[in-house]
Every structure is written in structure tokens, then in C-alpha cells.
Amino acid sequence: MAGNPDPTTDFFTLPARSREIRQVSTSSQTEAPHPILVVEDEVLLRLDLADQLRRSGFHVIEADSADEAVALLEHMHITTIVTDLRMPGSIDGRELVIWTRRRFPNVKIIVVSAHAEPFGQAAPDAILSKPVRFERLLQTLRQISPPAEPT
């Protein structure tokens, strides 16, 4: 079952009331209609980034490896990935980017890494250097993400 094309069969549709429960951002952020996938193997970095994104109004899903990210991408409707590059597992972040470009070409990809890697034609939409300022990441998300659907 492909994760991205049909949200009614592979993405749990939340009841309308549950959307009110999400933290309300104090910024002018418009919540992304589908989750952002954060891929980072260092747990404290991952939880800090995910927490800041949620406080800014985004729906966030977490993966600790490229392998977990693949499992989620195959079965969830995800439109944006924020990923580290060097992570343990059967594939690393660079291979995740290349795989995603081939498998789900409409997914937006932001790489956040202290290392430079060649991507060839499978380049991500943005590359930010670690340590990344959160405001810079937000600005990049606004620039590359599709506009939110009206609610």
C-alpha cells in the first residue's frame, strides 16, 4: 500500500474536534495539513526540534533513522521531511533523500546536517547546516511547503 496517494485508506483521519486540541501557535504560522516527518537519530535533538515545530503549530511525526522514515513514508501521507544525513541503519539520510525523490517525487525535503553530501539529480529542496536556527528552519518550511488547505 503506497503511503502518499490516498489519505483515506492509509492515514488515520482525525475527528474534527481533535484538531482543536493541538497547541495553538503564537506566531502567524499556518499549520501544515499533513505531518512533517523529522528524521534524526540523536534523541535530544529530535525531541527538541519536534517540540519546537509542534509549538509552532505543525503536526509532526518522528523517526530515529532512515529505515523508520521509509516505513512511515510508505504508509502515511507525508508531504515534508526534515532529515539529518549521517544516521545508523541499513540506509542513511542521503540514501533516504535519493529514495524519496524516486518513490515520492512530490515530497518536500529539507536536509539539516553538519556534513556536505553529493546528491546529483536527487537534490533536496533545501540544505541547512547544523546547528540550525529554528527561525531559519521555519522560514525554509514556509518557502518550500505547499500552501495549507483552508479549514
Binding site: M1, D10, F12, L14, P15, R17, S18, I21, R22, V43, L44, R46, L47, D48, D51, Q52, I61, E62, A63, D64, S65, E68, A71, L72, E74, H75, M76
Partner: protein, 136 residues
């Protein structure tokens, strides 16, 4: 770094589960129940959160078995010794995970379930069935 959370404002659950297709739906459900949810993939990550993060963890919700490392029993024993104020619950099956999540939700900040815990169990089973079908 993450701000320290007032203990009674939002309650925090640390989920420790190596299977992302189980961890994600449980975490999602508990967030919809009003909890702040931290996710760890194994006991070592959980211990890093418990010892190195400024977050106040109220509940640790852990699987029992983790390949190649300390298991949920070792984690709960560590918690009883070093963090006795933290409530630790263990889940060995998807069904039990969903039930525990449902019980936590009833005790949670929202005082009302956004949807039934059986929906969480069904979601997990559907995700895992799809993954297993893809791999054959």
C-alpha cells in the same frame, strides 16, 4: 533546549517502543488526549531523556522486548530505583498498548477521549498488515 514544563500544566509521557508503526499511533493518540509525548526507540534513548533532558516525565510507557539491548523490565527497575516519582507501565502486545493508551487518556489532561483506543489498535494493525503485505 526545551523549556522546563510545569508539572501540572501538561503531563508528559515518554513512550519507549522500537516499532515505529506501533509507536507513532500511540504517540499520536496520547497527544490528542492532551499529553506532551516524548518518543524513544529503545531503553538507552529513554535513559538519555530521563537523565539528560530538563523535561519532567510523569509516565514512562514501555514495550517489554528490545532486540540487542536492555529490556522494558530493566528500564522499569531503573525507574523504581532512580525516579520513583515516575509511573512506569509496560505493554507486551499491540492490544495491551492500545488499552494502556486508552486508560492514560481517561486519566489525561483532556478528561475525554478524542476517539476510542480500539481505533488506535485497528490503526496499528492496519499499518503493520500493509507493511507485511508490501514485504511479501
Amino acid at each position: 533546549m526545551v523549556d522546563r514544563v510545569e508539572k501540572n500544566s501538561v503531563r508528559t509521557v515518554l513512550i519507549v517502543e522500537h516499532e515505529v508503526l506501533v509507536r507513532m499511533p500511540i504517540a499520536q493518540y496520547l497527544r490528542e488526549c492532551g499529553y506532551r509525548v516524548i518518543e524513544a526507540v529503545d531503553v538507552n534513548e529513554a535513559l538519555t531523556v530521563l537523565t539528560d533532558s530538563p523535561l519532567v516525565i510523569d509516565v514512562v510507557f514501555t514495550a517489554t522486548d528490545f532486540a540487542g539491548g536492555p529490556d522494558g523490565f530493566a528500564l522499569t527497575q531503573w525507574i523504581r530505583t532512580h525516579r520513583p516519582e515516575v509511573r512506569a507501565v509496560m505493554a507486551g502486545t499491540v492490544k495491551r498498548s492500545a488499552k494502556i493508551a486508552g486508560d492514560l487518556c481517561e486519566d489525561g489532561p483532556m478528561l475525554q477521549k478524542p476517539y476510542h483506543a480500539s481505533d488506535v489498535e485497528n490503526w496499528i494493525r492496519r499499518l503493520m498488515a500493509a507493511r507485511d503485505a508490501d514485504s511479501t
